[in-house]
Symmetry: C2
Subunit: 347 residues, 2 copies
């Protein structure tokens, strides 16, 4: 994709040179664009869990099914709400028995592009991620994988959907495949938009002010970490230059590896749709995008941004808002429980 994109831009510049006009309107954008990649796919496939229409439909149902929580109150969609850009927009989430989680729920949109999942990267991919919250004490609180499987396996429509979604598996309905189906759905939750049209050659899909904001973003060094297709999704220390004071118990990647150098190293959230994915940072402590930008500049670059600089960066960041695809906004109709379905339990 990267290679294709580079060729494409090369061609566009050549053409611009030939007609001798458009260079000015592009005003040297190409080298800036080279930090980023457009979304050019409908989904991010996983060879170990290929995205198929059957699996996506099954995953859509499971994603919205509150029976995957002990109480029957929470579905994946509760904390990663499609209607609110893939997250709950709460600083930290409210889970079983009104327990508050330690960190902010990230957006599910474009998470398929991440290097790893969760703020501390403890899951390698979406397939592994999906298995966590269902069992987590302060989230959906299912007492065991077995009970999750038992709930789902008690519903005939699910049984047959697992069969057609995982036709090669001797036992299609497993906890792993519940997660695989959910992940397949999530792999389709991408939000291309005018930013991608811009990267693909349509300079006019961003305004002049947005062009300038992108340049400032790159020139200041933001794109050293926030680059590629997700403008995030890799790991970085929160507080490269100055410390970030936080009340969160999380120490990021250190909680997983125990290595000193991983203290306060977090997986970077994508900057796509960032104007909608507040409150910001792993502790959800910051509500305003302007403030988040100022904090990042101070912590990571040791820079005190002035108002004009902040405004310019924010103008650029707002150009990263994409479009939620229609199919993502379609609610499933969930199949009925049966006499064999273990009951919801709020205790």
């Amino acid at each position: 994709m990267k290679r294709f994109y580079a060729l494409f831009v090369g061609g566009a510049l050549l053409l611009a040179g030939a007609v001798g006009v458009a260079m000015a309107s592009g005003h040297g954008l190409a080298s800036y664009k080279d930090n980023f990649e457009p979304i050019t796919v409908m989904y991010v496939d996983n060879p170990d869990n290929p995205v198929t229409p059957e699996k996506v439909e099954l995953g859509r149902k499971l994603y919205h099914d509150p029976r995957l929580s002990k109480s029957g109150l929470f579905s994946c969609n509760t904390c990663h709400n499609i209607a609110t850009w893939g997250m709950s927009k709460l600083p930290v989430d409210i889970g079983h028995q009104w327990r508050l989680g330690p960190v902010n729920s990230g957006t599910v949109f474009n998470a398929a592009f991440y290097e790893a999942q969760f703020w501390d990267g403890r899951a390698a991919d979406l397939e592994e991620q999906a298995k966590g919250p269902i069992l987590a004490h302060e989230e959906m609180a299912m007492p065991s994988e077995e009970l999750a499987v038992e709930r789902i396996a008690s519903i005939p429509e699910y049984v047959s959907r697992f069969k057609v979604s995982f036709p090669e598996d001797a036992e299609p309905l497993t906890y792993d495949n519940i997660a695989n189906a959910i992940a397949a759905f999530e792999r389709t939750l991408l939000t291309p938009g005018r930013w991608d049209r811009f990267l693909l050659g349509d300079n006019d899909s961003l305004s002049r002010a947005e062009h300038e904001g992108m340049k400032a973003f790159v020139d200041m060094g933001c794109a050293r970490c926030h680059n590629g297709v997700a403008l995030g999704g890799g790991f970085e220390k929160m507080g490269l230059v100055n410390n970030y004071p936080s009340e969160s118990p999380s120490q990021g990647r250190y909680d997983v590896t125990g290595k000193q150098e991983d203290k306060n190293v977090f997986k970077m959230t994508t900057l796509r749709n960032i104007e909608h994915t507040y409150p910001y940072f792993h502790d959800g402590a910051v509500w305003e995008l302007e403030e988040a930008v100022r904090i990042m500049a101070r912590l990571q670059l040791g820079r005190q941004l002035n108002d004009a600089e902040t405004k310019s960066i924010v103008t650029f960041l707002k150009a990263l808002t994409g479009e939620i695809p229609e199919h993502a906004l379609r609610l499933p109709v969930l199949p009925a429980s049966t006499a064999a379905t273990p009951r919801p339990d709020p205790s």
Copy 2:
């Protein structure tokens, strides 16, 4: 509508007589059908709150917006989940601070046909109903109407949507109009299906066993209460012949009127989609439709149903499952909060 329907069926019978064939296949269904009415509208209008496309779209957003709850966790859709046939399917709902409600949440589908709203009928219509849960201590727990309005009014997209939805109001964004918009959306949540095609003359859209079930339902006296378009929605004493033992604190309509004769008088839930709207009764104590039918027969009719009778009635009841309209399954994209938006508060 009733009048039109009667004429229509009369015409169908006349035609059947003329061709001298179809009478047997109808085997005297007409007088049974006369207890019921089909859904023939796309929405149930309210002259005091006319349903308009603008209002429905605004209502869709508000219905799914968790910012109408103090914590930011609950939207109308949490307890009246479109994906699970308009309710949560919990015995009683879990609300703010994990408080459990006193009664089961009813389905929103076809609720527009009800005589009154809530199990005790304390709201005259959906417009009045929608104002309740937002403020209820054990539900969405907003501390005041003012805070609900303040949250919504801090969001520019909502402000302009209220203006176009309530163009004649000097002050369009009020707590009453929040409820009016939600109710307008709910007034479109109807689920016509093969039952309605049957009532409108297509006898084959129900099987013979379903025809027989309908006859048993009427002959036993069930349709004395469960009739009309919703097969429910009016008031009746729960326990006309035998008492219903319940742990629920609710005494039904008595809680509103204080009249002895209203003790344990409840608004009847619609029987449309009843196979999906478990658990049953105001206390959500009964999970199986078969058991609910047996209990109703014993309590209301003093009848002990045998297995064949129960099965026949249940067969009929399952024919009352309609189709959730596509538009109801479309999630909105919610507009972003602003610096002026009062923050969610889980306390």
